[in-house]
Amino acid sequence: MSKLRFKISMSLDGFVAGPNQSVDNPLGIGGTRLHEWAFPLRAFREMHGFEGGEVNESTTIVEETFANIGATVMGRNMFGGHPGPWDPAKPWNGWWGANPPFHHPVFVLTHHARKPLELEGGTTFTFVADGIEAALEKARQAAGGKDVSLGGGANAAGQYLVAGLVDEMDISLVPMLLGSGERLFDAVGDDLHGLELVRTVATPKVTHLKFARRSKGDKS
């Protein structure tokens, strides 16, 4: 069965974006620094169409999170633009330009129906207005037996987590304190929803925590 896998970078104090998020500064104040550990990596640069780069302890983690993914689901806030109905006068086509780095079908959760958006490089955004389970089902079908990546943001991730639909969660814990901003685990309650810590990989720039669903025979 194809898995739903979630990966995100989080500050030590629990934030996935800094305060004052805007169209000009989508990750908020200090938020870009949550991802700086990945930028020099060859594995990350290749994904975004650049050459060269480092190979270090984070390489296997990045390669693993990108491997065997056939489709992505993401929330409206991650796709970005503006809240509310889509504005045909100012079409918002995502943050990622003409050739987004997904190269597979992406399903965007929204309350507002919209025609699919086909971009270069194999990325098509399909807008799903009938809930998280419908979006996941569509993504699973599109993934053709591969896994589905849960792209975020925090709100969409929280909904899938609470519904018990997340099979794997990779948190890259970044050594910085943001003090305020968008919290990853806001309003998901006090339960890891069946996930347990299965691996810690410590590197000087970031600590990778892998959580996975307890296997069915393993009750504790």
Partner: protein, 195 residues
Amino acid sequence: VSATAKEQAGTTTTGKVVWHATMSLDGFIAGPGDAMDWVFKHDSGPNAEVDEVLRTLGAVLVGRRSYDVGQRAQRPEMRKVYGGAWTGPQFVLTHAAPPTPPDKTITFLSGDIRTSVDTALRAAKGKNVVLIGANIARQCVEAGLVDEVLVHVAPVLLGDGIRFFDHRGAAPVDLEQITATQSGQVMNLRYRVVR
């Protein structure tokens, strides 16, 4: 750290100021109603990082709320700092000191944060000062007084409670990882504060 304490200590070395906390994965150091039971539930037994803290500890500086939560603990040993595994000078920062401290190792302080840290560092006689409590730690971070952060991350979500670092409007604080180890399901993360 504190220039004043360092100058006055002359050639003797001054200890470090270490912010030590156990945190849930979602960033809380206490649950709703100051609940701390989850910490003991996730205690994974002997921990070399904690042993090291105790070995190098000269004094603790505790916030009033953390102190009060400790005093209310059901098990008597839990009313003591580190469950009684360490004894030494404890300084409690408060605006309203009780008339008599319950214990001669406890001193109530009401001055500003720099003076309080200086007082604790002097009492520590070259060993480290550990900060206990979110509010006091935030004040020390803001004043640039924290040298290291040691945080044990428990694989639990609390959903609500006292946040590890709640500081609206603050500039991001950069940390440099010193060590990261795992004890059972608990991660021990030690950082240097970049200033």
